[in-house]
Amino acid sequence: MAIVRLALQSVWNRQVTAGLTVLAVALSAAMLLGVEKVRRDARSAFADTISSTDLIVGARGGPVQLLLYSVFRIGDPTNDISWESYQHIEGLPEVSWTVPISLGDSHRGYRVMGTTQDYFEHYRYARRERLRFAAGAPFEEVFDAVLGAEVAKRLGYALGDPIEVAHGAGTVSMLTHEDKPFRVVGILEPTGTPVDRTVHLSLEGIEAMHVDWRAGVPIPALRVSPQEAEEMHLEPDAVTAVLVGLDSRVAVLRVQRYVNQYRGEPLQAIIPGVTLQQLWDMMSVAENALRGISIMVVVTGMLGMLTVILSSLEARRREMAVLRSVGARPLHVWGLFMSEAGALALFGVGLGITLFYALLAVARPFAAREFGLHLPVAPPGPWDLAILGFVVLAGFVAGCVPAIRAYRLSLSDGLSMRI
């Protein structure tokens, strides 16, 4: 114990270099924790976004792309699917429920999604949780809108407020549907999924907005007032994707096959869980690269520490010699260096954990806003602890190198004055 105290006091005597070493180790530990955190939470955030949906049907293209745009609102749809195809799928005997969704408009940077009331009934996230209303109710009228929790909070909307929808997905838009404002009738509770950042309208509402549009622009001569639009027959021509629930999950593969082979139109059906797994399989290369880099950073931190201790050895020859002369044995000197390196690593890891949680607290709102990535504050997992323990252990082991050097230095070496 006396040795450890001696080591700590010796370190304290070299505050600046020791402090910098601890900081280097701390940064590497924080980076390791951060990479692991983002990797894990990104995965579970994705997995928690869709539940209880057996198939997603969309235009033919990449399965991962369909999953990304239909559920995560990332990227853009490849094509629409016709209303006839939708009705055909809805009519299949295996199908228990369908929720059509229509994308392509936005409101101040938030995606607008057209759907039916069934969405609020059937959409599930995170282990079969249903959507709940913090205020209001699902849309009833053509120009009703239901907001995700974040949209309402960030833009400060309350029930009854008017909102106008922009054409396209930019944060600002030159072409808006300002002539047909919507009214907020419902605000959803936070879910931690992209639903929070979505403005939900009825399919009829989406149709009504575009009723006087031809060839991709609003034609002034065809201008239709909201009241007139409401009177019109507002059946959509097409939707972007369809969420499908089946009576029996055993039939999933067969229905998927049927949709993929559908002759009326090139369609594809994906099983969300399988596609999610495919996405992860693809991402695991990048994840491993990131992991490799963070381990390299830890190694660099350790080497830095070793360099500092080794280079201090020269300056401390006298210190060692004095210790030896007052009766310290070579083993004591060994212990001194081991404890010094170990203590530096331990403090480094401790500071690293603190740093990581401080950064997490700062980055949380940003990650949620910019990437829709929810990073819950949780204690380090078993993997994290194992890695951190390994860093401390590596610190102790690294201490052996200067310890061996010091051990070898003879008593006379330090006492004889050589300048």
Partner: protein, 181 residues
């Protein structure tokens, strides 16, 4: 003198242990299943194909012709209502295959379809209904990749009538899923 009661106790303990081992072995009798075992021995898909072909050869059918369509529909429905082996119902079995995840709890899979192969789904029809086992696991399983096989042990339920469409199928509720190496 004092040894005897100790020895007697030891004997009793040993007997008890042996008995316990015997009992647990009996209740843990697990049948190792192959995918073939899930098909009734008298089930003949070739006959079904021939019946659906109605005396024609598959090579004679024009791709996309009404006849080919009809054949495909008939064949598909025969495959999806493929019968299950009733005797397997309620048996404790072990089966290995590939897991197609259906439901996640966090990062781990809680429900999946166990199938005999994976990766050929696009080019050939999906496996017949009696080659799919719908598995729910009590302890979620961290899937490492779609191409990694898993093994489940539990009581198999063989239902010849799952829904109005006449889907037959196997379901299993298991405690945990193990990687199959």
């Amino acid at each position: 003198m004092g040894l005897r009661p100790v020895r007697a106790m030891g004997l009793a303990l040993l007997t008890g242990c042996l008995w316990a081992v015997a009992v647990s072995a009996a209740s843990d009798k697990v049948r190792e299943l192959e995918w073939d075992d899930l098909m009734p021995s008298d089930w003949n898909p070739v006959a079904i194909i021939e019946k659906a072909l109605n005396g024609k050869k598959a090579s004679e059918l024009m791709d996309g012709s009404p006849e080919a369509q009809r054949f495909l529909t008939e064949y598909n429905s025969a495959m999806s209502t493929a019968p299950v082996v009733g005797e397997l119902d309620g048996q404790r079995v072990r089966l290995a295959g590939f897991a197609l995840p259906l439901e996640f709890g966090g990062m781990e899979v809680t429900e999946f379809l166990l199938v005999p192969y994976f990766g050929a789904c696009i080019h050939v029809p999906p496996p017949p209904a009696n080659q799919i086992v719908y598995v729910k696991t009590e302890k979620p399983y961290p899937v490492t990749g779609l191409y990694d096989a898993v093994q489940v042990t539990g009581t198999l339920q063989a239902k010849s009538y799952l829904n109005l469409l006449g889907d037959a199928g196997y379901t299993m509720e298991v405690k945990e899923v193990e990687p199959y190496l």
